[in-house]
């Protein structure tokens, strides 16, 4: 049963490609690192190559780059305002990294970088640290006004403030867990149904017919997974924009 072909967890295993050990710490180049590098390289190549022509009527790649840019810029502008545009490089990089990493995961035998919580947690921490540091840099202690909603009776202000702080701290957690859980659950579901196909079809002619059902399910799930890949990249981006909005306009 724990056969590599049908084991749904096997695909998330970290394998060392190049063993590196620095001062007792294991900093080996793993398959996860390899696909992160590939993600960045492919994103950069598509964008640089695509925009190199600078045609008035864009070609396929240029059009793709322009759509991605205008989509992210529009999202950022509408949720964080004109002042948020200074964060466009960060938000655009995050969007492209998550999107390309998610789509890479859909290629058979490829490793899904975003299905590991350490990766998504780092991305979320990057966002929340940017928000916090920029918020304090821009507004100083006024940034703490974020945690004290206006129009609250003085008696319950401490309580509300603690709840707001917990709510703020829970953001990176929910941001990272959402992306990671979606990718992990999606890939496990795909693998489980694909495993049914393998197991059933080895049971002779009757099982072969029975295997058609999970096969149809796998086809449908693959489509759904592509949707989830796009959707989660979008959700990650829009929440980043909303948190950046907090850093730019912390209450009144």
């Amino acid at each position: 049963m724990a056969d590599v072909r049908t084991d749904p967890i096997h695909q998330f295993g970290i394998k060392h490609i190049l063993d590196i050990n620095v001062g007792g710490y294991d900093v080996s180049f793993t398959n996860s690192a390899l696909f992160m590098v590939l993600t960045v390289a492919v994103t950069a190549l598509i964008l640089i190559w695509g925009t190199s022509a600078r045609a008035v009527v864009p070609g396929r790649l240029q059009s793709m780059g322009e759509i991605a840019y205008e989509f992210v810029a529009g999202t950022l502008r509408s949720s964080a305002g004109e002042g948020g545009m200074r964060f466009l490089p960060l938000v655009f990089s995050l969007f492209m990294f998550v999107l390309v990493a998610n789509l890479f995961g859909m290629v058979p035998y490829f490793f899904t970088v975003t299905s590991h919580i350490i990766v998504t947690a780092c991305l979320a921490l990057l966002v929340i640290l940017t928000v916090t540091i920029y918020g304090f840099y821009k507004h100083g202690t006024h940034f703490l006004g974020l945690f004290v909603p206006s129009g609250v009776p003085a008696a319950i202000v401490p309580l509300v403030t603690i709840i707001e702080v917990i709510s703020f701290l829970s953001r990176p957690l929910s941001l990272s867990v959402r992306l990671f859980a979606n990718m992990l659950a999606g890939h496990i579901t795909l693998k489980v149904f694909a495993g049914f196909v393998v197991t059933l079809s080895s049971l002779g002619a009757f099982g072969f017919l029975g295997a058609l059902l999970p096969l149809a399910m796998v086809v449908a799930l693959t489509g759904l997974e592509f949707l989830v890949a796009f959707l989660q990249a979008y959700v990650f981006t829009i929440l980043t924009c909303m948190y950046l909005n907090d850093a730019l306009h912390p209450g009144h």
Partner: protein, 128 residues
């Protein structure tokens, strides 16, 4: 032809200096044009979210809520470890975390207004 013109102007604008707070009249005009263009992709984005059905929404709500509770637990547990107030810190902060989680969910569905209504469309975004 007009759309090409607009696209070129868009590119010109974005390649230039960071478009923050520049009072140039030409840039303002371009920005207005740009805003008109932005209307279309926004609608498309909304449809994508709607097409996902309830699954995306459910995972979103679930993670928002659970995140609040977990953070409350971790804060309470840490306070207990540091001050030796076992189990009171955990009990109090679990309840507060529960409240924060509920607040997260209500905020995510737009039942509680965003803290900062100044930022125009962000409220609208939340309701999706």
């Amino acid at each position: 032809m007009t759309s090409d013109d607009k696209r070129r102007e868009t590119e010109g604008l974005n390649e230039g200096k960071p478009p923050i707070g520049s009072g140039d009249a030409r840039l303002d005009k371009l920005r207005e044009k740009l805003d008109d263009l932005k209307q279309t992709p926004e609608v498309g984005a909304g449809q994508t979210q709607g097409g996902m059905g309830g699954i995306g929404q459910a995972v979103k709500m679930g993670s928002e809520f659970v995140a609040g509770v977990i953070v409350g637990f971790v804060i309470g547990y840490t306070i207990d470890q540091v001050f030796g107030t076992k189990p009171w810190g955990m009990i109090v902060f679990l309840l507060l975390g529960f409240a924060a989680g509920t607040l997260n969910v209500l905020r995510a569905v737009g039942a509680v207004t965003e803290r900062f209504p100044s930022s125009g469309q962000s409220e609208d975004k939340d309701k999706r």
